[in-house]
């Protein structure tokens, strides 16, 4: 009955041997994840920060994957939920309104708001499919951003394009995540603390995704993606199941947004542009739609690679030519586009596509 290995990426093995291997794999990954910030820290605290952002993108990609990958609903305005989560934190824990609520109050509010907006977007688009749905969601994403940009008059709610500053960091009792301090004789910086917090939340989201995918709800999403009419005929209430997909996806975006605000200490509407929505969608598509490990890989790659290029390309050029010939910032979008074209040409299902076809369902016995 018990099957704790399901959280890990390795499929349930044929025999105990592969199960042991799977556990060893999990231990190895856990060990790497545990020491990663200190290793990255050797190259500079900036890298820890970059990795933290990569984890935020993993959360976003996993959330969008529920909507796009599982339920097959193309959403081009997903970043709006990230914005809702971020502004929820910013408004409730900053000097802007003079509110400084604790995380256990703000985080649920942020998630609930994102959920609500997910349903708000989902409800009018229930009957739309494909291109039409994409256009409406794109509009929705822009509407949220433009609202945030303009809600500083007549009553100043969002402080408009200037954004909200001096946002409270994540704080549990007296333990503040933004401050460096010495714990058990080890100096732990702010980004390193945030890393563990983000890692914890990411793992939680991964676990939720894995369990949802392999459940009655996950199957209903897949059914809708495959054939909505047939899904209805099988007794699936497609309205509720779709709204659930939007709400679940949005809630992950809300979590990521709240942490973004806490970590940055500053939010402004320009962080939530259409480009961000498209980036997150690219992560999902590049990694492998509907496949959780693939989506994680896609998010990590696309979040870290540009920074890596920035760090490597400039010094390399300076070394070779004595000056910067090609500014990586200038060709970043070009490389991005090239990567997408190559993936679509050579691996249309993504870098690490779903292996659902090969899945073995044990014929007898309750577990495995």
């Amino acid at each position: 009955m018990s099957d704790p290995t399901q959280v890990c990426a390795a499929p349930p093995g044929r025999a105990g041997q592969s199960r042991t291997r799977a556990w060893l794999g999990v231990l190895a990954v856990a060990a790497v994840l545990a020491v990663l910030p200190f290793v990255l820290g050797l190259a500079g605290q900036g890298w820890v920060r970059i990795f933290n952002f990569a984890l935020l993108y993993v959360m976003l990609a996993l959330g969008l994957n529920i909507v796009v990958g599982f339920a097959g609903l193309l959403d081009l305005g997903y970043i709006a939920f990230y914005a809702v989560g971020a502004y929820a934190w910013a408004l409730l824990a900053s000097p802007h309104f003079g509110l400084h609520l604790p995380f256990w109050a703000v985080l649920p509010v942020g998630v609930a708001c994102a959920c609500l907006f997910g349903v708000l977007l989902g409800a009018p688009t229930l009957k739309l499919r494909g291109d039409y749905l994409a256009i409406v969601t794109l509009g929705f994403g822009e509407i949220i951003r433009i609202f945030l940009n303009n809600l500083n008059a007549p009553v100043n709610i969002t402080n408009g394009p200037q954004g909200i500053n001096r946002i409270d960091p994540f704080r549990v009792a007296d333990f503040t995540f933004s401050r460096a301090e010495t714990i058990f004789g080890m100096r732990v910086t702010g980004p390193e603390k945030y890393y563990y917090l983000l890692l914890l939340l990411t793992l939680l989201i991964v676990a939720v995704c894995v369990r949802l995918q392999d459940s009655r709800i996950g199957r209903a999403w897949e059914a809708i993606r495959e054939d909505e009419t047939a899904a209805k005929a099988m007794g699936i209430n497609t309205r509720n199941v779709k709204l659930l997909a939007f709400a679940m996806g949005a809630s992950f975006g809300g979590v990521a947004g709240a942490l973004f605000a806490a970590m940055q200490g500053f939010v402004s509407p320009e962080s939530f542009s259409l480009m961000e929505s498209i980036s997150v969608l690219c992560m999902v598509v590049l990694g492998g739609m509907g496949h959780i490990p693939g989506v994680i890989l896609g998010a990590l790659l696309l979040a870290v690679l540009p920074e890596f290029l920035r760090a490597v390309v400039v010094p390399t050029q300076q070394m070779l030519f004595g000056e910067v010939v090609l500014d990586p910032e200038g060709i970043r979008m070009l490389l991005f586009g090239l990567a997408m074209v190559l993936v679509m040409l050579f691996r249309p299902a993504g870098l690490w596509p779903s292996a659902v076809r090969k899945r073995e369902l044990a014929r007898t016995g309750g577990g495995a």
């Binding site: 676990a207 009655r216 059914a223 209805k232 005929a233 099988m234």
Partner: protein, 268 residues
């Protein structure tokens, strides 16, 4: 006589200028195999879609097991115990056969988001039950060995049978099959016929659209003939087969006159 399982009265459906159904009424008794035939475009599939909630009829009522079907959403019709297959097979093509059938269990299971995330003992039991039942149903329709094959990759006849298994997973009282023998060869049709008889023997009423007359006439207890969206005839297969109007609809007016005169000539 007890109340029929399904009782339709005056069902009408119009698509723009086309009156697809006009005033169709019939009733199906529990435990029957009820045939629905008619020339192409007679409105058979439209009737199916109206009954199962995909189309909303302009008028008419349809009582199923004591409840009114008209106005119900498709998923409510399925939950009420009325399952169907599709004329052009509509499986979840990229999923395995077993997953297709497991999805059919949706209406009869309850796990919600929280249950799925926490995977409580009750949810685990339910999941194990879903999987076991799905395997049973695949065996029942005779494709138990194909459980892990992708639905799209199955041979045509097996896809038809998988659709039946998926529909049976919803625990229907009435199973509506839309041309299940289409594209099957003679031996596959025989196997299908045995399957439909087995389904009826296990207490499920069957509504069958079919063009294979041999299958319909051999299998059905009663037959409803539609033409231009109207009921042309209804009755036992033998009666319907002799009905001059039915013969005319299928073979033309000359054939009907010939058929009408033939028995008179044979009996002096």
């Amino acid at each position: 006589m007890s109340e029929p399982l399904l009782q339709a009265q005056g069902l009408s459906k119009r698509f723009g200028g086309l009156q697809a159904l006009s005033g169709v009424g019939f009733d199906i008794a529990e435990g029957e195999i009820y045939g629905l035939i008619g020339p192409n475009g007679a409105g058979k599939t439209t009737l199916f879609n109206v009954l199962t909630g995909l189309y909303v009829p302009e008028s008419g009522t349809c009582r199923f097991a004591g409840r009114e079907l008209a106005g119900m959403k498709p998923h409510e019709v399925a939950a009420a115990g009325f399952a169907r297959t599709f004329q052009n097979i509509r499986l979840f093509g990229n999923l395995s056969a077993i997953e297709n059938v497991m999805i059919g269990r949706h209406a009869r299971t309850h796990a919600g988001v929280l249950g799925a995330i926490l995977r409580t003992p009750a949810v685990r039991r339910e999941e194990a039950g879903i999987e076991a039942r799905a395997h049973e149903l695949l065996d029942y329709v005779g494709i138990g060995g194909r459980a892990n094959d992708v639905a799209r990759s199955l041979p045509y006849g097996d896809q038809r049978r998988l659709e039946i298994a998926r529909a049976l997973a919803t625990e229907p009282r009435l199973l509506a099959l839309d041309e299940p023998a289409a594209g099957m060869n003679a031996s596959e049709t025989l196997v299908l016929r045995a399957l439909i008889e087995k389904i009826r023997a296990d207490g499920v009423t069957v509504l069958l659209i079919e063009h294979d007359m041999k299958l319909v006439m051999g299998l059905c207890d009663r037959v409803l003939v539609l033409e231009y969206g109207k009921v042309l005839a209804c009755g036992r297969p033998a009666e319907v087969q002799r009905d001059p109007r039915v013969i005319e609809a299928y073979l033309g007016a000359g054939a009907a006159q010939h058929a009408a005169s033939a028995p008179a000539g044979a009996a002096p």
